[in-house]
């Protein structure tokens, strides 16, 4: 923690960055995102096991962009998000300083995005054990059981779109659900409408999701929607051998193709 505060103070004093986005104490033993602009406020930064929020999502907000060059405290999910949004041209290399945090809570500095890519290629990107258990349980169900499971879970959805708001990849100025000519997906929270919304969102995140889990954490109804996007991640990795957040120059999975993509269901 001290090394983080020291580094941030240095960066702000030298003017190398105008703001650093990090974790700070919130109310009720919760952690919240803080925006440190003055060197003396660096002491408010903390880092412990409660710090899981994906801070990269603030990097592209225009209020933050106008502050100038920004730094961000980056555990693994944030590092991957930075690379993924850079590959989608939402962030330039010289706009951000990534202050990486290893799984042992040590600070690691990166002078450019290439070093970040190297670090990520050596990291463990597997799912946390708890999520893997539920995924395996669902995969073992019959199709009818899966339909029951998902329609039950998704019928809890109240269409608050917190999942969309929390996801760093959902930065579309006009989301497809806001279009009402034609209206693909109803705004009401009906059972079928909820299934359509979540399936659509998972499809739009295919190959782009970095498994940060923000969607599930932000859901007020505690629906495990991150499992839907995890499914697309494992599918994309298995079939196209790429994963989001691997590099700042990779092509988007659904906007590119290989002429020898293999499938076994086209007649």
């Amino acid at each position: 923690m001290d090394s983080i505060r020291k580094k941030v103070t240095e960066l702000l004093e030298s003017g190398a960055v105008k703001v650093v986005i990090g974790y700070g104490e919130g109310s009720d033993n919760n952690v919240k995102a803080i925006f440190v602009r003055k060197p003396q406020d660096a002491s408010k930064l903390i880092y412990d096991e409660r710090c899981v929020q994906n801070l990269a999502f603030y990097l592209m907000k225009h209020e933050v962009k106008h502050m100038g060059k920004r730094g961000v405290i980056a555990p693994l999910s944030v590092m991957r998000t930075v690379l993924q949004v850079a590959s989608e041209c939402q962030l330039k290399e010289d706009e951000v300083v990534v202050l990486g945090i290893t799984s042992e809570k040590e600070l690691v500095e990166f002078s450019n995005l290439k070093e970040l890519e190297t670090y990520i290629s050596k990291s463990d990107l597997s799912l946390p054990a708890k999520e893997k258990e539920i995924m395996d349980k669902i995969e073992a169900m019959s199709p009818a059981e899966r339909w029951q499971y998902w329609t039950n879970q998704l019928s809890k959805c109240i269409k608050c779109y917190a999942c969309r708001a929390a996801c760093p990849m959902c930065y579309c100025i006009r989301c497809q659900v806001e279009c009402n000519q034609p209206q693909w997906i109803t705004a009401e929270a009906t059972p079928m409408g909820n299934v359509e919304w979540h399936l659509m969102r998972a499809m739009h995140l295919a190959g782009r999701c970095v498994n940060c889990g923000e969607c599930a954490r932000s859901c007020p109804m505690e629906i495990p929607i991150n499992l839907l996007t995890y499914k697309t991640v494992s599918m994309v990795k298995g079939n196209f051998e790429v994963y989001a957040g691997a590099s700042s120059t990779m092509e988007s999975v659904l906007s590119s193709y290989k002429s020898d993509d293999k499938e076994n269901f086209i007649r």
Partner: protein, 148 residues
Amino acid sequence: MADFEPKIVAFVCNWCTYAGADLTGTSRIKYAPNVKIIRFPCTGRIDFMLLMKSFANGADGIIVSGCHPNDCHYTSGNFHARRRWMVFRDLAEFMGIDVNRVCFSWVSAAEGAKWAEIVNTFTDEVRKRGPYKEYIDLAKMEHKNVIL
């Protein structure tokens, strides 16, 4: 169930499968009348939401068909479509949607016989599976009371 005739919707590309289906007709090859063909310029244009909306509106089966890889009229539309179908199929299966009710195929403009065979085989398969009741039932619900 003995009188059940499935409703099949076919999303086809204009340049290959639609022309192929046309050839089936001009060759006077008989095939199942259950299919309603919808013409698209290219399979690359076919959104996965169209498939979901078809099921929600009463389709029991869906055929999606286009040009063979490397033969797309727009060069790469079917390659993009193929990737999209691979992802959609896996995701839909994970959610419990019956992906055996969706048939993907490449049918060229010369393959009139193949089109007939695909429609006939697939209509038989869907007839055996019965109407897609669970999907339509969910589409009609205004809310679902669930105790988890």
